[in-house]
């Protein structure tokens, strides 16, 4: 199974070193700036919302669910997963630094795994911070326990891994993974959520919604899209969601590692 380290040796110091180097590479201010901006969007909107509605009518539950459920889960998590997961491979290829990683005495699978882990950690950290801030703004530090924060913090990393491994697999197989990733995340997933029937089983977000439900969001009268979504009764049971996600992550990741170890990444342009 590709997941086992290719040459069987226990994780050496070089794995740890590679992970730290990739993490430092990921956390470079220029790369993280856009992600942090994205993470603060729901917080800013929550603050704007709280300041403009008079005290009594302010319903923290509604605000938290819309911001956390709608934006953090539905938007920030997905877009960061796409950017960072596809970045693990395409960033290196574009920068022409992939040649150094491919000609190291470390197996390609371990290189990819270390860089993917760094990406997952970065995205999870950012999304966690965003979620906690939204909860603080909505509920205030005193009764923060009432919010669904604890469950969200548990499901978020799983969402990151699920989306991350699928986009990583895309990045190792098809050219221009970013565009197809975005099309999948915002085109396919939102479209599938709206039409009735079992199509929604094909979208990761449906399972995440089951694992971390945000009930108030469904009843709010946002706009036509949300109305349609509310019509679609949740038919997926919680345990099937866990099962599917638990199967999806290793399979997608394993295939990605396998594909990376086999494919050629030498640029074709100077084919002389």
């Amino acid at each position: 199974m590709a997941l086992r380290h290719a040459n069987g040796s226990k994780p050496q110091m070089s794995d740890l070193y590679l992970f730290r180097a990739s993490l430092r590479d990921m956390l470079r201010p220029r790369r993280v700036a856009a992600a942090v901006l994205l993470a603060t969007l729901p917080v800013a909107l929550a603050i704007a919302w709280r300041s403009t509605t008079p005290g009594a009518a302010f319903n923290p539950g509604l605000v938290y669910n819309i911001m956390a459920g709608g934006i953090v889960f539905g938007f920030t998590l997905v877009i960061l997963a796409v950017l960072f997961a596809t970045g693990v491979v395409s960033q290196e290829v574009e920068q022409k630094t992939i040649v150094y990683l491919l000609t190291r005495p470390v197996s390609r699978a371990r290189v990819l795994l270390a860089r993917f882990a760094a990406a997952a950690v970065t995205v999870t950290a950012i999304v966690w911070v965003s979620c906690v801030l939204v909860a603080l703004v909505a509920y205030g530090p005193a009764d923060i326990a009432q919010s669904r924060l604890a469950r969200d913090l548990l499901v978020l990393p799983i969402g990151v891994l699920a989306y991350g491994s699928v986009f990583l697999l895309a990045a190792t197989i098809i050219p221009k993974p970013l565009i197809y990733g975005l099309l999948f995340a915002f085109g396919w997933e939102s479209w599938v959520a709206m039409i009735p029937g079992s199509f929604q089983r094909m979208s990761i977000m449906a399972y995440l919604r089951v694992l971390a439900p945000h009930p108030q969001m469904a009843t709010s009268e946002r706009g036509p899209a949300e109305m349609l979504q509310a019509l679609n009764p949740e038919t997926i049971a919680v345990h099937t969601a866990w099962l599917v996600i638990a199967a999806l992550i290793p399979v997608a990741l394993g295939l990605a590692l396998l594909a990376f170890s086999v494919r050629e990444y030498a640029p074709k342009d100077d084919a002389e």
Binding site: S14, P105, A271
Partner: protein
Amino acid sequence: MIELTNASRWYGQVIGLNDVTCTVPAGITALLGPNGAGKSTLIKLVTGQLKPTTGQVKVLGQTPFANGRVYRRMGYCPETDGFYEDMTGREFVTMLAAMAGLRGEELAKRVAEALHIVGMEQSADRKLGGYSKGMRQRIKVAQAIVHSPDLLILDEPLNGLDPVGRHEMSELFRQFGRQGKCVLISSHILYEVEQMTSNILLLYRGRLLAQGDVYQIRALIDRHPHRVAIRTDNPRGLAMALLALPCVLSLRISENGTKQLELETRDPEAFYSQLPDLVLAGGFHVTGFESPDNNLESVFRYLTQG
């Protein structure tokens, strides 16, 4: 060290390498050829970035594709100019050295040593983005030698270096050659390569055109018989004397400017052994002579441009 047997590789319809069989021994070997001859395809096959479409490639006895064991003993200096712009030179070399299995105190020592060899210790802690082309090239060489490999694959290693840098790096590669390492250098600057080695691997339009010692190859090019240029104050007199030698094919005298006599001969051995007697007997006053096209540049031109 490196063997290719009937190796060929193409991308779609573009032929990169076509049925090349060759071995690269220890010491320095120059990989030469005009643009589009397949040099970088061969290098990508040897460094395991590409798999051959037909035939096979063996490096240190194993197939190099994604093979960690080969990379432990191989240093590769790529031609591309891609870097992690926000890393410093030291961090970059350290990361690659750590991935080569070096650890702890020995890692720091080897990195410092490699940076010293390429003369980059004082600017090692600046960001790669701010480096000049020459400094980036030196860092590329440093990462190739940091884990003291037995095999060095260098793709245009002197590109962008100033004369001082070219001199130092050429000396460094000659030193590796003397230590018995196998060094494969791909370059377009023939006179620099000629100073490092006379063992060449000449590719042309994807095929192996010539392999071995350049001077032996020169002798085999019979389309261009061996030429000798003799500088003397009395070219016409010497020419008349030389006509008597049977091995002299043709003679050309130029009297304006440098007084010089140029001749072609099929049998250099005979000619060179008879020349001293002839000159001493005739009392000619010779200020110098050499074979003007017995060098890598002429061999390259004769073989590739016919």
